[in-house]
């Protein structure tokens, strides 16, 4: 899947470059505007992406997956919620890595609510993401969205846990 994804990426890349070049060629009066806008975002990304990647790399090495499983597997209550949020928010890789970790957590008996909160934190409030958001959208936007995401992830976690419990209970009745 990863390899196929890379190939698709490069195809998309090639097609975009082709479109870009043909726009510059066929619409020369618009070229300046287009190049100007791209250069601006290029500079902005070049300013922060290397630093963000360094942080990602450092955390990937210093916070191994086992550590996450170890801490999240046995904590509950407010502490469990807080840990799920914090461990999910640490800069440690893309979402598809979080799925197997979550599966392990569930097998080890972690609460469904905590796993859902962990997944939401992993996808939505990753530390490097927040930094890039701060850079591009400003402090007000970033902090409000962060606050709302935390609140809603907890609500989501508990509602899903509730539904899953009901499904499991019904399944238990049928099989017994």
């Amino acid at each position: 899947m990863k390899r196929k994804g890379k190939l698709v990426q490069w195809i998309v890349f090639a097609v975009s470059v082709l479109i870009y070049c043909s726009v510059l060629f066929f619409l020369p009066d618009r070229a300046e505007c287009v190049v100007d806008a791209s250069m601006r975002s290029l500079v902005e990304m070049a300013l922060i992406l290397p630093a963000v990647m360094i942080l990602l790399g450092l955390f990937a090495v210093w916070v191994p997956k086992d550590l996450i499983v170890k801490y999240l597997g046995r904590s509950s209550g407010i502490k469990g919620i807080a840990l799920s949020l914090v461990l999910g928010a640490l800069p440690t890789g893309p979402l598809y890595i979080a799925f197997p970790i979550s599966a392990t957590l569930l097998r080890k008996g972690a609460r469904v609510s905590n796993v859902i909160i962990f997944l939401t934190a992993w996808s939505c409030i990753k530390l490097p993401q927040e930094m890039v958001e701060l850079q591009f959208l400003g402090l007000k936007f970033m902090s409000l969205r962060l606050f709302l995401t935390i609140i809603f992830s907890v609500i989501m976690g508990f509602s899903i846990e509730c539904v899953i419990r009901k499904i499991d209970a019904r399944r238990g009745e049928i099989s017994s």
């Binding site: 890379k6 490069w10 998309v12 890349f13 975009s16 470059v17 870009y20 618009r30 505007c33 287009v34 190049v35 100007d36 806008a37 791209s38 250069m39 975002s41 902005e44 990304m45 300013l47 922060i48 992406l49 290397p50 630093a51 963000v52 990647m53 360094i54 942080l55 990602l56 790399g57 450092l58 090495v61 893309p94 979402l95 598809y96 799925f99 197997p100 979550s102 599966a103 997944l119 939401t120 996808s123 990753k126 490097p128 993401q129 930094m131 890039v132 958001e133 850079q135 591009f136 959208l137 007000k140 936007f141 409000l144 969205r145 709302l148 809603f152 509602s159 899903i160 539904v163 899953i164």
Partner: protein, 160 residues
């Protein structure tokens, strides 16, 4: 904007120095991961830069607000929310994209919905998620995630 970039770079530098003092081998390993992730994300970075350039340079003003502007309300938010759920781009790159949409006249709510669904919901990674976590949980997570994203968008639109 420059201040934020400086802050992030300073933070990375401090962490790097701290790591180097603590453990040289792991720091090298971390840097290797950093370079690899940067190279991995590079084609998409250029795709996004090209897209932003074309959007800001070619799309006439008024076209973007017509679909996702302030006055389109919930419809605009839903439209961008679905778009964000279906698109598969690294979440880090959703922010420059969102910023340029905002610059072109998209509403705050629409931009918030876009970022939230893009990061939280991945239609492309759905099969993988189901394999690991089971159908019910994945369905619930993604469905509720979408509703949550729309709620966050509406609140942010109302407050900012």
């Amino acid at each position: 904007m420059v201040a934020t970039a400086l802050l992030i770079n300073a933070l990375a530098l401090i962490c790097l120095i701290f790591a180097r003092v603590k453990d040289k081998k792991r720091t090298v390993q971390a840097l290797r991961i950093a370079v690899k992730s940067l190279i991995d994300i590079l084609p998409m970075v250029f795709v996004i830069i090209i897209f932003i350039g074309l959007m800001l340079g070619l799309v006439p003003p008024g076209e973007i607000p017509r679909f996702v502007g302030e006055q389109t309300g919930l419809r605009g938010i839903l439209l961008v929310g679905v778009l964000g759920a279906v698109m598969y781009i690294p979440s880090l790159l959703s922010f420059p994209l969102a910023a340029s949409l905002l610059e072109k006249g998209a509403s705050i709510g629409a931009v918030a919905a876009f970022i939230t669904t893009l990061t939280m919901i991945g239609v492309v990674t759905l099969p993988l998620e189901m394999k690991e976590l089971g159908k019910e949980m994945v369905f619930l997570r993604n469905a509720l995630g979408f509703v949550t994203a729309i709620a966050i968008a509406l609140i942010m639109g109302a407050l900012l």
